[in-house]
Symmetry: C2
Subunit: 512 residues, 2 copies
């Protein structure tokens, strides 16, 4: 059937989609989500059919993805006919019938996701099948490798390549901003990619962005790492494992994430990491609520990493309260910089040194812990951080007090004498977001006391920072509603609860 092109002028989220009227769909004998072959001159494209009642019945609406593939202009005449669904859909249906996917089937699915040949509903079918049925280790391996091979890679001519990742869920966790310069200052390579906040008040990319640009291309990232051994950049536009980004789009509204392990390891594999320390914070609101859950997760990560030829060790860490005192991009960047300058809060320093020393041990450094501590104490790590900041395009001479924070503040004070016995991570995240973080870089929260600290009535417990009065008021209201911090009795604790090495015979709790 011959149809006139109408360019819609915008994209369809990376999918090859066309719009046709319902009468036209009937005439073509296609239903929503069926496929059509669209031919223009010697070019052709297979596209997913969206049926839009009320669209012109003599036109086909092209989203930009298909328009580009065809080189189509408004009013062009194209030939349109029904096409069969991609073979990968047969494999998704196989999974729906509880079949096991082979390596080539997994590649076919991931390839078609990246190329935009599968609809959101079909990707959702894959995601939900794996949510209900689980993945075998082989399937995890295939998905991870396929995600990496269908994306771009950072090819560094260096070995080893170290990396650090946290499963998150703890507000104020700016540990990467210390671990990366510690490792890099000791001569090791650590090309760290990170994410922006989705449900929290700040992601590592948001924090680093206060100090330097993080939106680097892969080439720029390579240059930085080759020059100063490390970087802290945003992974969002790098096309490392791009299938993962498309899968997350359907996972997010459903609150499921069966690709959790493959997607993390795919990002590590794509930058060439050979040695990875994985931080699994444990506590309310984190991925692993108990140490038992954390251990199970750790084993799955270690097993898959081994199959991928990557050495991975896990640090199970204490995640019941924020790391350090600051929450929010600017406040955290300031706290991290102060920690690098020798004035860091003990839990932040302890966590950074613990993770860094696990990495250093993995590559054979003797006295790894002392080396990490010394890098901090001597100012080597700070110097390295300033080199990284400069290499990424920031101001290497930045002082903590230069970093601007919101000038609208509200302070919550203790209503009695006692100990801080309750801090709600999720309430702090909600309040930090209400105050404007992470978009307003200066918005956030500064704690004045942490679990177990003795406070007197009237002493400050926390201060909320905002850039706008309206947002401060919203945050203030939430502070009253949510009671994020409470005074009574308390506990104290070291950060590292347990270290899980790659070799299973070493499953011991470290005495420290």
């Amino acid at each position: 059937m011959k149809l006139r092109v109408r360019l819609l002028g915008y994209e369809s989220g990376g999918r090859n989609v066309v719009l046709i009227d319902d009468s036209l769909a009937e005439a073509l004998d296609v239903r929503p989500l069926d496929r059509v072959l669209v031919k223009l001159g010697d070019r052709h494209a297979v596209a997913i059919v969206n049926v839009a009642r009320g669209f012109s019945p003599s036109e086909i609406g092209l989203y930009e993805e298909v328009a580009r593939a065809l080189g189509a202009s408004d009013g062009d005449e194209v030939e349109v006919e029904p096409a069969s669904a991609p073979e990968s859909l047969v494999y998704i249906r196989k999974k729906l019938e509880r079949g096991r996917l082979t390596k080539s089937e997994v590649y076919s699915i991931i390839r078609d996701i990246v190329d935009g040949y599968l609809s959101d509903v079909e990707i959702a079918a894959l995601v939900l099948s794996l949510h209900f049925l689980g993945l075998s280790v082989e399937e995890m391996l295939y998905f991870t490798e396929a995600m990496v091979e269908t994306g771009d890679r950072l090819n560094l001519k260096r070995r080893p390549i170290l990396d650090k990742h946290s499963l998150g869920g703890v507000p104020g966790d700016k540990t990467s901003l210390l671990v990366v310069p510690i490792i890099a200052s000791l001569g090791y390579t650590i090309p760290k990619t990170s994410s922006r906040a989705i449900t929290s008040a700040a992601g590592t990319a948001d924090r680093m962005e206060v100090l330097a640009p993080v939106d680097l291309s892969l080439d720029e990232m390579r240059e930085v790492v080759e020059k100063v051994n490390g970087c802290i950049v945003w992974g969002g536009t790098l096309r490392l494992a791009p299938a993962d980004d498309l899968i997350i789009k359907v996972e997010y509204p459903l609150g499921v994430d069966p690709f959790f392990i493959p997607s993390i390891l795919a990002k590590k594999l794509a930058v060439g990491s050979t040695h990875v320390v994985l931080d699994i914070p444990t506590g309310r609101g984190t991925k692993a609520r108990t140490i038992g859950e954390a251990r199970r997760l750790a084993r799955d990560f270690i097993e898959l990493a081994q199959k991928l030829g990557m050495k991975l060790e896990v640090a199970i860490t204490y995640g019941e309260e924020p790391v350090g005192y600051a929450i929010g991009p600017a406040l955290e960047a300031r706290e991290a910089l102060e920690a690098l300058m020798g004035r860091g809060p003990p839990d932040l320093v302890d966590k950074a040194v613990s993770l860094a020393s696990i990495l250093l041990e993995m590559v054979g450094v003797r006295g790894a812990k002392e080396a990490a501590q010394e890098a901090l104490r001597s100012g080597k790590a700070e110097k390295k951080m300033r080199e990284i900041i400069e290499a990424q395009g920031g101001d290497p001479n930045v002082k903590p007090e230069d970093i601007e924070v919101g000038d609208k503040t509200f302070t919550l004070r203790a209503d009695r004498d006692g100990y801080v016995f309750w801090i709600s991570n999720s309430a702090l995240a909600t309040i930090g977001k209400a105050a404007g973080a992470p978009r307003d870089k200066g918005a956030g929260i500064l704690l004045h006391a942490k679990l177990g600290d003795r406070v007197r009535k009237g002493e400050p417990l926390m201060t909320v920072y905002a850039e706008s009065s309206v947002k401060l008021q919203a945050a203030e209201k939430l502070v009253e509603e949510l009671m994020p911090i409470a005074v009574g009795r308390g506990i104290t604790g070291r950060m590292l609860l347990e270290k899980i090495p790659a070799a299973p015979e070493k499953w011991v709790v470290i005495e420290r």
Copy 2:
């Protein structure tokens, strides 16, 4: 945030969707499939966000559903803010976590599907959860009732109301075109709704449409039934259980149908059926491949029907070859009319009489089988069919030979003497569709021999009819490729294998 309206001018498949540019989504802090509240004057609408990179960053694109709800015009200024997801999404997530849904949760989900508040991905999550986890009888009951209550209903002031449904999968099954007039001619009410073909060469609505219009409104349907006791109309536009139509849209590309039983019974409940005979054809290519599977399905249908206050009996029928000789709308309408005039093929007549007599027995008719046979023999059923045809707006005096069939034909002949021992239902469906059915009403297949028939070399086995030479050639090619009928040795058989009554103590095979 204030935005200008851009009317897109077409619908989004019954969903409340708006389009915004990705930069705008970031500024609003919403991600694809999040919700926004759109306000215009004193009207407002909650809509699902589609992110379209390259769309104007100061505009919001409204599909017709949302435009209508707001009464919006191009260029109107609307206030847009993030909104929380509908509560029904919480229940879908509960099901994703393997929870059991309560009655009010099911209603909330179905209501939001009908009102367009859930995205395809979210509906897919529901469908796939139920595909993997199954539905409890209570959940089936809730879904069925919710589907009916969120749609229109046929309110007839008559009791009993009889109905017939087939699970399909057998080509040429025009049994409804006999059962409806038999039942109606005996004074009982039978408001039959039917579907068009999706994967077959003809649905009951396609067949009936050769004789009379089938695209009636609910009021027109009521008038017809009140006048002549029965009808055979297309259910597609009636809004009986409309949630089902939206659910099928996502089930179809995935090839799963967990709502199979609720959706069938919802359509029956919506027309007020009190007594239903369900035909479960058994054989290759049907829903129930074995009698064991058919019995399991039968029990599920009977149990749910009982809870719905509906009496349902099941007929397990022979489904290994087409019913009668004709496949395709016009050929089948002709064969049905001839059967009503006393010249029907024995298997078609046997199946129609069997199903009709089960229905008649259910409402207490003695000598039900004889009554059904007599209705056919005496011409009462034919007369009633002509009344129905007239009431629906067709020609009551239509003769079988008036019905036009395709004038392009191709005949397959036996290549040896012997018996027909193999007929492929799926190959016949494929060939019939290639010939143009069901869109080309005159396209189809006429068999000249059936399983067990003795044929001599050179005698015709089947003739393909088409309205266009191109389609005939395509069908002819498929005949050669697929070998839909083969000659060797054969069997003969009656149509009804087994009847399953509503009361479980009567699980016996009927000796006939």
